[in-house]
């Protein structure tokens, strides 16, 4: 009789999850905490996580840091740049800066039909 069933069934996600349970917690990479503020009238905000060298974007990749760094050129009567300068003109070829200038990401626009406890099946 011709075999019709799978030869073997193994799963990698479950194995990885079990291995993860036994993994010792990693030490925090940064001992030094980093704070920033927009100007002398604003409160300080901790940005230690965004500043870490292992953070995606190489340490200076977060939208918050790029906002802080380039806000004076972004209009809104908050800085020294001419209001005639479009914010996009300050981007150049830097993708991280471009991301900081993008429209803020909206979420929650999918999933509204689903009711709690219902299945998609």
């Amino acid at each position: 009789m011709k075999k019709r069933s799978s030869k073997a069934v193994s799963l990698v996600l479950i194995t990885a999850a079990l291995a993860g349970c036994a993994k010792p917690q990693e030490e925090k990479e940064l001992k030094q905490r980093v704070f920033m503020r927009a100007d002398e009238s604003a409160p300080y905000t901790e940005v230690t996580e965004q500043y870490g060298s292992r953070h995606r974007g190489g340490g200076m990749g977060s939208a918050l840091l790029w906002y802080m760094a380039f806000r004076p050129l972004m209009g809104g009567n908050m800085g020294y740049a001419s209001q005639g300068l479009a914010a996009q003109s300050n981007v150049g070829k830097n993708a991280a800066k471009a991301n900081s200038l993008k429209t803020q990401t909206a979420r929650g626009g999918f999933g509204t039909t689903a009711k709690s406890g219902t299945s998609a099946s």
């Binding site: 799978s6 069934v9 479950i14 929650g108 626009g109 509204t112 219902t118 998609a120 099946s121």
Partner: protein
Amino acid sequence: MKIKYLTPSSDWQQRLEKTGFGYHTEDHATPYWIEHYYYSITENLADEIYAATSDLWQMCLAAVDHVIANKLYDLFQIPLFIQQHIEESWENDAPSLYGRFDFAYDNYSKQLKVLEFNADTPTSLYETGVVQWLWMQQYFGASKDQFNSVHDRLIQTWSDLKPYLKGETLHFSCMKGTLEDLTNVEYLRDCAIQAGIQTKLIYIDDIGWDGETFTDLEDEMITDIFKLYPWEWLIYEPFSLHIPNDMAKANWIEPSWKMILSNKAIMAVLWQLYPNHPLLLETYFEEPKGMEDYVKKPLLSREGANVTLYKGGRIVEASPGEYGDEGYICQQLASLHKEKSGYAVIGSWTIGQEPCGITFRESDSLITTNKSRFIPHIIEN
């Protein structure tokens, strides 16, 4: 095709839970997974189901082509804004993974009849591909066989689809708070990982729109996404209008053309295209057209909701729900296989365009619902 009993191991619940199958019993009382009996089927029946699934898949592809070529979207209640997206996904052969036909099997005529095609978000895949296979190993070892190469086919199909993905990461998505959906999605993701694809999980309501593309929680652009979330829900939600405007033109898996096949209107279209085909039940839009024994089903009903059975023109069974505003089909009443334990429906999987496995769902009534039990099977001659 008949029920056979065995003595279950005393620790079967724990064994299932160790494999990640956490919903074998509903509310700690109602069984979903059946451990102590199974369907024994012949190799001939397995061959028949394989051939029927293969034939129907080809008929369905022709039917989609017919619907698109003749722009029959109104029959399916598909809104205008998504129609071009459907056409592009069809013309571009956008990646598609799977589907499950549900069959009735008549004991007397020995004939399979297709009840519907779960083409967009079929579940019970984990139960079929993993739990059912492990159940066979537990009780029969290598001495018996199943019609069940689901696991192998999933890995192979993801591997085949990999060159057609647009980005480096394939996202997987489902609703929060439903263990069944999450288990199915994680199983599919597991198989994609085994096929060498980089993956991420994101819940459907966490998907972002940045004005140009869809993004995940780390603001990574979504270029390819498997969603266990029905198209007919997606297209009425606030982000739906972004789908045709997505700069990344993300691959949605299943693709939007599957909206046509997952709609029960396709059963009426198939009957128009292939009248009196032995695998089909007589089916019409809205009216029974002279049939006295028939089932009235909403076009988009899920889990057996709002289904009404008529015999001799009178209602004999009906299920509650919130569907029906979108319209109905009237489908000839099928003869379901019946055992002492209940009525059975055969689910037949096609993955990567190839039939590869079956499931049996058993109900106390003629309507299959989310309370229907999963029965494993064995091929025995």
